[in-house]
């Protein structure tokens, strides 16, 4: 009892400190576009047999340039297989996503999850540096698109089912359902990284672990994932992605078990993207004929690492979850909870590209017992 008294304030402090952990799933390339991702628990766990958990998650992820960076990056012209160095200057990307996530327990240990994202993306960059505009300053080109992104189907297995702990191993396949043919305001095919889909299959391996430090009061969790996406038909391959997340959920008030505070730290590492293309560069004043046509450096179509892609991101995400089931006694609120998280960057290395700013996540979870176990 003594121990518990001294542990509780610390535990509550820890929860408050760790309060939500979003992980970020990024598709960054010549023009960056990131989708924020949060570990919610009901998404990562295996539901009991016959239980369908439905999550609807909205997230708002802005990306801007960091101080001390100018955002001058290469252009990707996947239609003509060209990689043009220093041809774009990034301004802003805002991605809003609604993920419809279905998680079903086939048995008490085996589950299947289907995630269908719907995205709204706006992007602004200056196109044609050294080639167009007054003094080769380029032209501001906006881009806007919305639609279904790449669906993910994941099989999950609970390898350590006990009351206090859980370890879930997952293997997912990302299906290329998102469009890769959107065009910008100038009518040009938008670069691969800004498209809603990646254009080819991706494989995702993941591990989720949770342990009740104080039973039904404070639990710790860890999530790690690795994604590999294959090269698409445009010759573009998104870099591999590594995610690590560590966080905790806690009930601060025993009299209000419907309120859960949560916090998580997330670290994401993205490997450089790659494109099969020729290599060119923008003209600079010392080249003569400035502004003018780009200069061909290597006409051979080779697999080339895309500069200014790849990034490292570390963030802290506080948030809370409210179990409506415990708050309001109604059939409408049964097995339903809502949650809100914000993701605050702590460290960002965006490689002179756009970097993710503070993001917000809001969601609703509802479970339906379809079959009695």
């Amino acid at each position: 009892m003594k121990m518990k008294r001294s542990t509780l304030p610390f535990a509550i402090g820890l929860i408050a400190a760790l309060c939500v952990w979003p992980v970020v799933r990024t598709a960054e390339a010549a023009c960056g576009s990131v989708t924020c991702f949060v570990v919610i628990g009901s998404q990562q766990q295996v539901p009991q047999a016959g239980l369908l958990t439905f999550n609807t998650i909205y997230n708002y992820t802005p990306m801007r340039l960091l101080d001390g960076t100018n955002g001058v990056i290469p252009a990707i012209d996947q239609a003509n297989r060209r990689l043009i160095l220093d041809h774009h200057q990034e301004v802003r990307t805002i991605t809003q996503t609604v993920n419809f996530d279905l998680n079903y327990g086939i048995t008490d240990r085996l589950g299947i999850q289907v995630t269908i994202p719907y995205l709204w993306r706006t992007h602004k960059h200056i196109d044609g540096l050294g080639e167009e505009g007054e003094n080769g300053a380029g032209e501001l080109v906006p881009f806007r698109d919305n639609g279904i992104g790449d669906m993910t189907i994941t099989a999950k297995y609970n390898v350590l089912p006990t009351l206090r702990s859980m370890i879930v191993a997952g293997f997912g396949v990302q299906v290329p359902t998102g469009s890769t043919s959107a065009r910008d305001a100038a009518g040009e095919l938008m670069e691969s990284p800004t498209q809603l889909g990646r254009g080819n299959v991706g494989l995702i391996g993941s591990v989720y672990q949770t342990y009740e430090l104080i039973p039904h009061r404070l639990n710790q969790f860890f999530y790690g994932s690795y994604r590999h996406t294959f090269r698409n038909n445009d010759g573009y391959q998104f870099g591999d992605e590594y995610n690590l997340n560590l966080g905790a959920n806690g009930i601060p008030l025993e009299r209000a078990p419907w309120l859960i505070l949560t916090g998580q730290f997330s670290w994401r590492y993205l490997v450089h993207d790659n494109i099969s293309a020729s290599l060119e560069r923008s003209r600079v004043p010392s080249d003569g004929g400035f502004p003018g046509e780009t200069i061909l450096l290597d006409p051979a179509i080779l697999d080339r690492r895309v500069p200014n892609t790849g990034s490292t991101y570390f963030a802290f995400s506080p948030g809370f979850q409210v179990s409506l089931d415990g708050l309001i006694d109604s059939p409408l609120t049964r097995m339903t909870s809502v949650y809100f998280y914000s993701q605050i960057p702590i460290m960002r290395d965006s490689n002179n590209n756009l970097a993710q700013g503070i993001s917000y996540i809001f969601g609703v979870t509802r479970s339906f017992q379809l079959l009695k176990s």
Partner: protein, 183 residues
């Protein structure tokens, strides 16, 4: 290109290896549901009065081992049915062992007192017995016959007075018939 391919393959291999290794390591740690028809493994736990009680001491009776917690709504919902059948059948070879999971004695005692439960309440403080019976969600009810054999394993808050009465009758019937035939 070859180098990138090799890196990818290495990454995939490392991931697969880690998954397999982790799975193997934790495989033995997970709880296992006892198969119906097998003998229930014995356990010994302390009750709310501090007395040690074991499953084997109830050999010769039909035992309902119910895993529960005060925060678990389906658990507390089915407890009045357990109390009612305990009151009806305790003189006829039936006992309820309510195994509480990971809670304070004071909280459990208060709950039991408030609801007037009289069946034995055992404290599974380190979650050991729950793991022994493959419990990773609450409530779980295990019906064990007079010989210590698992006869029913019920997950979720599905117990009603009628379900308990029917299950006990079904378990006791062969023994009663056997006893009758001997007479």
């Amino acid at each position: 290109m070859k180098r990138t391919y090799n890196k990818t393959m290495l990454g995939l291999f490392a991931l697969s290896f880690t998954c397999v290794l982790t799975s193997s390591l934790v495989w033995g740690m997970g709880s296992r549901v006892p198969a119906v028809g097998t003998t229930a493994e014995d356990f010994r736990l302390v009750d709310l009065d501090g007395k040690s009680q074991s499953l084997s001491q109830y050999r010769g009776k039909v035992v309902l081992v119910n895993f529960w917690a005060t925060w678990c709504k389906p658990c507390t919902t089915e407890m009045p049915a357990m109390q009612a059948t305990y009151d009806k059948l305790r003189e006829n070879g039936f006992v309820v062992l309510a195994v509480n999971e990971l809670e304070d004695d004071a909280k459990v005692r208060e709950h039991i007192k408030q609801h007037g439960h009289t069946f034995p309440v055992l404290m599974d403080r380190d979650n050991k017995v729950a793991n022994q019976f493959g419990v990773f969600g609450l409530p779980v009810s295990v019906f064990i016959d007079e010989k210590g054999v698992v006869r029913e394993y019920i997950k979720g808050g599905l117990l009603t007075e009628q379900v308990i009465l029917d299950t006990v009758a079904r378990i006791q019937k062969p023994e009663m018939m056997k006893a009758a035939s001997l007479q």
